[in-house]
Structures are given as structure tokens and as C-alpha cells.
Amino acid sequence: MIEMNISSLTLNLLADVTPPTQEASSGDPVTTLLMGLTVFLLAVFVGFELITKVPPTLHTPLMSGSNAISGITIIGAIICAGRADNVAAILGFLAVVFATVNVVGGFAVTNRMLQMFKKKK
């Protein structure tokens, strides 16, 4: 009995790792994770190199602008708000409200702060 369980578990694990033949490798969760980690690593390096010297007058606007970008989680929020499960959808709805305030407010506030950098002619 126990042996059977273990073997079925192994089978399950194998099923997880081996992609179904008809589907491309993108359907395999491990490959998806590795692709995600690759993208993550590269984006982290880009992020590290993107900003080098920033004058102190720009610290707050830059922080505000990148904060608005971190509101990208709105994508996840929209997906979650569409879930068939009611509780999951309500949690997703709250996420949409929060993330939208972050994105809309963030870009608007940054824009206001940056008006002072426009050259007066």
C-alpha cells in the first residue's frame, strides 16, 4: 500500500517535470520557472545599472516615478479580480483599487514635481 503511494508520488513528480509531448516546452513548470528566473536576473542587473548619478533635487521625483512603476502589480490585481472564486475576486478587487491609486497617483504626483525641471523660456 505504502509502496504504491510512493510510486504514484514519483509518477506525479515525473509528470510535473516531463512536458507533455504535444505541448511546447513553455508548458513545463520547471522551464517556466527557469525562464522567469532568467528574466528576473537580467532585469535586476538592468535595474542596478540604470541609475548611477542622480542630483539630490531629483531624489524624490525619481523615487516617486519608480514607485509608480512598482504599481505594475495592477496586472496581477486585474487577473485576480476576474477569478471565479468570490473571496479571491474580492481580494483581487481590493488589489485593483490599491494598485490603481499607486499607479495613477504616482505618475500624477511625479509629473507635478517634475514641472519644476522644465526649462523656462
Partner: protein
């Protein structure tokens, strides 16, 4: 074209715009455009997810629509109502909501039956919940401190660091237990509660003056939380934009610490961030914190200026910097800026000292203006460059009756939008008194020999 491919292409365009926008946000000249590009990137990302949703079997346009409308109205009103001086706490509040959104996404995915329960999904879900929740409460505390709702003084109690460490380890343990048994809702609730408390306790020991650095760090965290939700939902655009903000936020935090002459560890665990930091905060002087900047950063600000007033003093004479100053003057004029020299009657060590030196460097006589003529121009100046002058710029002469120089006529440099003080060190000037100008919000200290500093600014300007 396959709809899935269209969605992927839109995500790709969005990611590119966000990266490019963030890059442009880093320099004063390109920052407004950078913000626009970032907003455009966000629109593309939202468009992509909407197309994706329209083609999925599960979608709820009412909830999404109402959420976006409510969020936009709140966001726009808040952004318009806030005073310029209240910006840092507004950013803190927005950032907290972003972290909270990631936490809600994690909670929603935890509840949703379709979510994969393997460690590959549950680990990022745990991280997204933990970082999102602590960003939420931490940002709210930062907001409260700046707004004056929570005390801006560092709050300390015995064994603070030990308690925080234990709390952190317990939070991670709860998260790992949840990963181990994804059906156990109680571990998820424990994880959520501990993360929320962790955010409060981590920020409460830090003083109000250091909040901008804390907000910048929390901004980085909210990026990492968004990136973690990207792993949960298998969405590359989320991973890219989130980790981009996470990484660049850490760099920005370091830059801010450097400008405040502090280390990040000192800010987070030092507990010195109060306004009365005393001698313990190292380079902070008796009058509080000052900001310092390097030649490249100074050049970026000068690049966008339309009126620059140079205030020469004894320091310029000692360093024999007048030729470099003239070169800077020409470079700024080529960029369309107006450059004036403010001559205080007692600048230098003898009357007319500055006029002689500047004449030697071929500065046209019309650009030199006496104190009474130039003082009304400071409020419309973008930058005032104080070159080795000290006492003649000290606002205490105007306001502080106790000051030995009270009543002395001074140049109103502090009224310029940005004041750059080129100086060897924080030492007081000829009269031996502290200059409160150095500690003002709009003042940047540029340390070094005047000649050397100006040459470096000149070369930095050429490279822009």
C-alpha cells in the same frame, strides 16, 4: 495573429517603455519625458492584461472597472491636493498601497483553487505576501511620521534588535510552514499578521529625518513584492518591472544615504535620525543634516538652469579659480542660461577684490552686480553658486538677533531654488560662526578646492 502572441508582444513593449522611462527619470533634463514613457508603458501593460482577460474563461469586468475608476479618482485627487512640501509622505502612502496590492494578490491566489500548490508557486507567494504586507505597514508608519501622526522621534525599547530579529525569523518560519502545507490557512494568516507587525516594528525605531531613505528602501521592497507576484502568476512583465524597481530602488537608496553622509546600516539600525541627532550621527553638524553632491550631479542641475548667480568670495581668490569660473560661465551661456555675479561689498579681504580677479578672467563688467541690485533677482534664480563665500551669505544676519552678524547686509542666496556651496569643509568662516545656509533644504554642499571643483563641474557639463 494568435491572441496570446499579441498579449506577449504588448507586455514586451510595456517592459521596454518602463525600462527606458526609468532610465530617463534619472536626469533632470529628461525626467518629465521619462515619467510620460513610464505611464505609457503602464497603459500598454494594462491593455495587454485586459486583452488576456477578455480571452480567458474567467473575467469580471465589473470588479475590474469599478476598482480602476475608484482607484483613479482617489489617486488623482490625492495627487492634486497634496502640497509640494508633503510629497515624501504622499509617495510613502502610494508606495504602501502598492505593497498592499501585492499582498492582496498573494492572498487572492492563496484562496483561489486553481493555483498550483508546488513550492515553485508557494515560495514566491509567501515572499509576495510577506514583503507586500511589511511594505504596507512600514510605509504607513513612514507616512505617519512625516505627517506628524506618529512621533517622528526614534522609538526605542530594550532588546529592540533582538525582538525584530526573532520576529523576522518567525515570519520566515510561518511562510515556510505555509509552503510546506499549502492547505493550512492558519499558517497563511500567521504569516500575514507577523509580516504586518514586522513592517511597523522595523520602521518605528527610525527618526523622521531619515524617512526619505526608508521610503526609498520600501519602494524597492514593493518592487520585489510585485516581482514575486510575477512568479506566482507566471507573468514576465510583472517580473521585469518589479525587479527593475527593486534593484534601482536599492541603488537610489544608497545614493540618498551618500548625499546625507550616512550609511544605510546607520539609518536602519542607528536610531540617530531624529532632528536633535547630537554628535553621534557623525558628520551631521550641530544644526542638523546637510546634503552633499558630486560634480556630475551638480552639472545635471546646472544643465537645466535658466538663471545662475555666482557668488564669489575669499575661497575663489585663495584657489585662484576665476579662470575656471569664467569657463563655467561661458558653458552655461552657451546652453542659453543667464549668468550673473553677485558682488558683496566686503567679499574677499579688500574692497573690489572680486572685481579685480573676475576682470583678470575677462568676465564682462555688465555681468557683475552689486548687492542691492542683485538681491531682488535671487528668488527667480534657478541656481546660486556660492564660491568660497560664507558670512556674507548667512541668513542669520537677517533673522537671528542673537547672531554676532545680525543686521549685516547679506546676499539673499537662500532664496534661489537651489544653492550650491563650494567649500573645502564644513568649518565656519572668517567670523567663526556657523552658517545656517548650509543646512537648508535647498542647499547642496560641494566639498573640495574651489578651482578643482569648478574644473570637475566643467568637464561633467561637457559630457552631458
Amino acid at each position: 495573429m494568435n491572441i496570446d502572441h499579441l498579449v506577449q508582444i504588448l507586455y514586451l513593449v510595456a517592459s521596454g517603455l518602463l525600462i527606458f522611462g526609468l532610465k530617463r527619470l534619472g536626469s533632470p533634463k529628461t525626467a518629465p519625458q521619462g515619467n510620460m514613457l513610464g505611464g505609457l508603458g503602464m497603459l500598454f501593460a494594462i491593455l495587454a492584461v485586459c486583452i488576456q482577460e477578455a480571452n480567458s474563461d474567467e473575467s469580471n469586468w465589473v470588479l475590474v472597472g469599478v476598482g480602476i475608476v475608484v482607484g483613479s479618482v482617489i489617486g488623482i485627487i490625492a495627487a492634486q491636493k497634496v502640497q509640494m512640501t508633503g510629497m515624501p509622505q504622499m509617495v510613502a502612502l502610494f508606495n504602501g498601497l502598492g505593497g498592499g496590492a501585492s499582498a492582496f494578490v498573494a492572498a487572492s491566489e492563496f484562496k483561489y483553487d486553481g493555483t498550483d500548490t508546488s513550492a515553485m508557486t508557494m515560495v514566491p507567494l509567501f515572499l509576495s505576501m510577506m514583503i507586500g504586507a511589511l511594505t504596507f505597514t512600514g510605509s504607513l508608519i513612514a507616512f505617519g511620521k512625516l505627517q506628524g501622526i506618529v512621533t517622528s522621534k526614534p522609538v526605542s525599547y530594550p532588546l529592540q534588535k533582538t525582538i525584530n530579529l526573532v520576529l523576522f525569523l518567525s515570519t520566515v518560519s510561518a511562510g515556510l510552514l505555509m509552503v510546506n502545507d499549502p492547505s493550512a490557512t492558519h499558517w497563511f494568516i500567521v504569516l500575514t499578521a507577523l509580516s504586518l507587525v514586522l513592517g511597523v516594528l522595523a520602521v518605528i525605531p527610525i527618526g523622521g529625518a531619515d524617512m526619505p531613505v526608508v521610503i526609498s528602501l520600501l519602494n524597492s521592497y514593493s518592487g520585489i513584492a510585485a516581482s514575486a507576484t510575477g512568479f506566482v502568476l507566471r507573468n514576465d512583465a510583472l517580473i521585469i518591472a518589479g525587479s527593475l524597481v527593486g534593484a534601482s530602488g536599492i541603488i537610489l537608496t544608497q545614493i540618498m544615504c551618500k548625499a546625507m553622509n550616512r550609511s544605510l546600516a546607520n539609518v536602519l539600525f542607528g536610531g540617530f535620525g531624529s532632528d536633535d541627532s547630537g554628535g553621534a550621527a557623525g558628520p551631521a553638524g550641530p544644526q542638523g543634516n546637510y546634503k552633499s553632491a558630486g560634480p556630475e550631479e551638480v552639472a545635471m542641475i546646472l544643465d537645466t538652469a535658466s538663471l545662475v548667480i555666482i557668488v564669489p568670495g575669499y575661497g575663489m581668490a585663495v584657489a585662484q579659480a576665476q579662470h575656471q569660473v569664467r569657463e563655467l560661465d561661458k558653458a552655461l551661456q552657451e546652453r542659453g542660461a543667464e549668468v550673473l555675479y553677485a558682488i558683496h561689498p566686503v567679499a574677499g579681504r579688500m574692497p573690489g577684490h572680486m572685481n579685480v580677479l573676475l576682470a583678470e578672467a575677462d568676465v564682462p563688467y555688465e555681468q557683475l552686480q552689486e548687492m542691492d541690485v542683485i538681491n531682488p533677482s535671487f528668488p527667480r534664480a534657478d541656481v546660486a553658486i556660492v564660491l568660497g563665500a560664507n558670512d556674507v551669505t548667512n541668513p542669520a544676519a537677517r533673522t537671528d538677533k542673537a547672531s554676532p552678524i545680525y543686521g549685516m547686509p547679506i546676499l539673499d542666496v537662500d532664496k534661489a531654488r537651489t544653492v550650491m556651496v563650494l567649500k573645502r569643509s564644513m568649518n565656519p568662516g572668517f567670523a567663526g560662526i556657523e552658517n545656517e545656509l548650509f543646512f537648508k533644504e535647498n542647499t547642496l554642499m560641494v566639498f573640495g578646492d574651489a578651482k578643482d571643483s569648478v574644473s570637475k563641474i566643467n568637464s561633467a557639463l561637457k559630457e552631458l
